[in-house]
Amino acid sequence: MDDPIIRLDNVEKSFGDFRALKSISFDIARGEFFSLLGASGCGKTTLLRILAGIEQPTRGQLTIDGKPMAGVPANQRPTNMVFQSYAIFPHLSVRENIGYGLVYQKISKAEAKARTDEAIELVKLEGLGDRSAHQLSGGQRQRVALARALVCRPKVLLLDEPLSALDKKLREEMQQELRSLQRTVGITFVFVTHDQEEALTLSDRIAVMAGGKVLQIDTPQGLYERPNCLDVAEFVGTMNLFPAKVTGVDGAKAVAAGDPSGEFAGISAGRPAAVGDTVFMAVRPEKIAIRAGAGQAGRNQVAGRISSVSYLGDRSHYLVAVDGLAAPVAVYLSNLAGQGMVGTPGADVTLSWDETSVLVLDRA
């Protein structure tokens, strides 16, 4: 990547014996909405705090805007952060909170006031400037935290699960606002979340993290369509997994014998499979076609019995029990015009899918 805003080179972080981050290396492009996605304890917040300068890496190089950040304290970095708790100063008013960082910028009082007004307007808090932090709702506190960081005009805005404390409706609203805000101000956002849907909705690119490592960095579509390992496949969306043993390989394409039954053909997402490998053949629930009646098991086709049906309005979720598989196969069908339900629980069905929809994933 040419001239990235952030470059991480073998960054490691240990707390005593615990290795929170293990050799992290990647770039973030200017103006990108970049998400760090992972379950709690995966190291994503630690990584964000290293970017902010609140934590120092144990090893490795961090470069922001072309300058090495070793020994540069948080208050001298071109980054600002929106904390998970928002960290609104309780003894200051909304206006004082937002203007907090402007004292340290070399600008006149008049300009500081103008920029504070502008920031208040940007996050739609007009008229609330004199309120104290106690008198704000959760969404308003979040806006104050956002304005307080943006008013300093950072090169990178760091967001630590800023929406997790909000209820669902407000969260969706704020997602839209965050996304359009990012387009308006045009600065790089690094967004930490454990909510895969949120990451997919907002991001240009996502880094999926687990156990202190980055598993995959890709666009939302790339992550969903071509997960490079089992962990990513299971973390992002729902994935049906069929254990199998590879019997034939042709480039990226692999054919595998199902365990216990059936034959699968699919595409290797990561390194090509070798004959004899035990793998998982992975299919997304919405790529599966469902047909009433017990058909013959064949290539990319299995027979089963519906164990439950959930009607969700725009779509229906079927769980289909297949002999020899521990977990039922999930099938999502859109409820298009003129389409009835396929069956009720207990009905025999046949599932089939295209081989381009099947990913060959390592068992590891």
Binding site: G53, A74, N75, S85, A87, P90, G101, H134, S137, G138
Partner: protein, 266 residues
């Protein structure tokens, strides 16, 4: 029902036992007699009005106020950085340091006083004065100040200080603009608490004072003269009221501080 009644009775006796003797003091201070005995003779305020004429009492009062104020300010100023260091950073041997600082809380003050006396007179060779009293009080007050301040500093969100740093403030700026204002209720209750401790302290003052008496030492010396007892009682009553007001004030401030940090999740 019966059990509840017994509990109420128990509680009433408990409180009477604790505070009864103390309440006799204001009672006798208004009694028109030179001896603190029943039956009461009649109501008078002469023990109070006569106090300002008692110059040695007034000097002792002035000394106590002086020492108390100085000690509370210095003890709080010393306890605040220590409390910050122990709550904010991983100090090597922090646990041991804290235990040593808290030691004066558990060592009997008579032991402390004798030890200090030996150190001050024999080892350092400093003549006894209000300064030595203040130094002794300081030792006693710092652990109290530490306790109050540490609980206050532990009580607020660490990310507030991180946010301040992130927004461009340095260490001093963060302390001045975030830490200190948020710790203010703790600082004030530490000041009040240290003042009361110093003001009420007898044993260390008794050992370490020179010719200048503090109020408790003065009071003790007056007990040898039975006819001066009522004015002593009057003074004691005033101190009782004053201390109570200060303690209640400190507690209110502490509570209000805690409440304002939890605006309630919405």
């Amino acid at each position: 029902m019966r059990r509840v009644d017994l509990l109420v009775l128990y509680a009433v006796f408990f409180v009477l036992f604790l505070y009864g003797p103390m309440l006799l003091m204001p009672l006798f201070s208004f009694n028109d007699a030179n001896f603190a005995t029943f039956p009461l003779k009649g109501f008078t305020t002469r023990h109070y009005t006569g106090m300002s004429a008692n110059t040695s009492m007034m000097t002792a009062l002035r000394n106590s106020l002086l020492v108390g104020t100085a000690v509370s300010v210095v003890a709080t100023a010393l306890a605040l950085p220590a409390a910050l260091a122990l709550t904010r950073y991983r100090v090597p041997g922090g646990g041991a340091i804290l235990s040593f600082m808290m030691l004066p809380l558990v060592v009997p003050s008579i032991v402390l006083a004798v030890g200090l006396l030996v150190v001050v007179l024999r080892i350092l060779g400093i003549p006894l004065s209000l300064w030595t009293v203040a130094a002794g009080h300081l030792m006693l007050c710092i652990p109290f100040g530490m306790t109050v301040l540490m609980s206050r500093l532990e009580g607020f969100d660490r990310s507030l200080e991180e946010a301040s740093r992130d927004l461009g403030a340095g260490g001093w700026g963060t302390f001045r603009r975030v830490t200190l204002p948020l710790a203010a209720p703790g600082v004030i209750s530490s000041l009040l608490l240290c003042f009361i401790i110093s003001f009420d302290e007898f044993v260390i003052s008794f050992f370490l004072t020179g010719t200048d008496n503090t109020l408790p030492v003065f009071l003790f010396s007056q007990l040898r003269f039975p006819n001066r007892l009522p004015s002593t009682l009057a003074l004691g009553s005033l101190i009782l009221v004053g201390s109570a007001v200060l303690v209640i004030l400190a507690e209110i401030l502490r509570k209000r501080g805690v409440a304002s940090d939890n605006p309630g999740d919405i």
